[in-house]
């Protein structure tokens, strides 16, 4: 499977990697147990920072799409296909949309919501 990135795309590079690997697992192009290239190799091939690939891999591992087995490398998770259908980002978007709609109903302006959101995110 070929993976491609576009630096002019507004979507961050790590997100482009995640969506393409996720799509590959979903459509069966990447079979369960299939080996993925090491972080340094993919970073060298795409001429990007290894930390970007590491970030994409760690998020895919968190979502159960891939399995990082230390020095042995990264592999597609045996339940990767099932897990790749769970889109945490869209869940977060829908949860936030509901909250924002509720806050707007209470009469808060978008600026006030944004300030509150920033406060919460900063902890």
């Amino acid at each position: 499977m070929r993976i491609s990135i576009d630096l002019n795309d507004p979507l961050p590079v790590f997100a482009q990697l995640i969506s393409q690997i996720r799509a590959g697992v979903q459509c069966g192009e990447l079979k369960p147990g299939a080996a993925l290239p090491p972080i340094r190799q993919l970073a060298a091939d795409l001429q990007i920072n290894p930390n970007t690939v590491a970030k994409a891999y760690s998020l895919l591992e968190r979502d159960g799409v891939i399995d990082v087995r230390g020095r042995r490398g990264c592999f597609v998770h045996r339940d990767g296909r099932k897990h790749s259908k769970v889109d945490l980002a869209s869940k977060a978007t829908s949860a936030l949309s509901q909250s924002i709609a509720g806050l707007r109903a209470l009469g808060l302006t978008d600026s006030e919501i944004r300030i509150a959101f920033t406060h919460v995110m900063r902890g």
């Binding site: 499977m1 690997i21 993925l36 290239p37 090491p38 190799q41 091939d45 020095r71």
Partner: protein, 288 residues
Amino acid sequence: MNFSAPTVLVTTVFAAQILVLSVLVPYQFHKAYSRLKERYPPSAYPRLYPVAPGKGQRFNAILLVVRLLIVTASTAIFAVDLVEGHGPVALARTMICVTLAQAVPALVWLIWQQRMARAFRAMPAPPVRSAELRPSRLTDFVPLPVIAAGIAGPVVSLVSAIALYRTDPDQLRVIALYVLVVSGWLVLRMLMALRAPGSMPRPDPYMTDADVFRARRQRLRVLFVVSAVMGVAFTLILLFQAGRLPVDIVAISIGCSILYQLVLLGTTRVVLRRLAVRDASVYRAEAT
């Protein structure tokens, strides 16, 4: 003049060395690069020539003068030795000195190639890039026997250095230390290549995937072949220094010269073949 068989042999090898190292190989490179320039003119393919053409021509002119000086001086010295009736040992020593002198233009050329490689890598990469989502294995690039020979060479030389140093520490201190450092470094490089063979940086951002693969394959093969050859050479040098290898200087000089010529001819063939099949269409001015 001395016309003994060893003298004739040394003279023949010397003539071949001058011909191969200073005439044949440079001419082949010159021809290949001229053909490349005809096929891909700098005006249409500016990315293929990251260093200004004037600088390249100046460098080639200097290199030609240096090469001519070395050939003239070497031939003159050897001819004088021959006319004065020096024995094969003296002629063999001269030949080894000439080999070292002939290596100077090659080293200068390598420095120039490093500069070119830096210029290629410094080019801004295109915004759209793609890669195959598949891990590379070392065996994709280097055949298994070459990997085994590459690792065995330095390991044997390391073991020889330690074993022979224990028998004669005063005589072998410097050479054993040198072998330990160089062979140790080669073993480390090969272990790194074993772990992540595909993580070598791309030679330039525009090169096609097939050419990137060929470039990586070439670098890895060179690493393993050089390691094997150096391992054998170090072991022989150590045995010779320790007095366990009864070989005279004439045989060693002839062997080294022939090996050097063969290695250079082989390397030239590989490099020029790669240059001939290289797909340079991606370096067009309007290509992205």
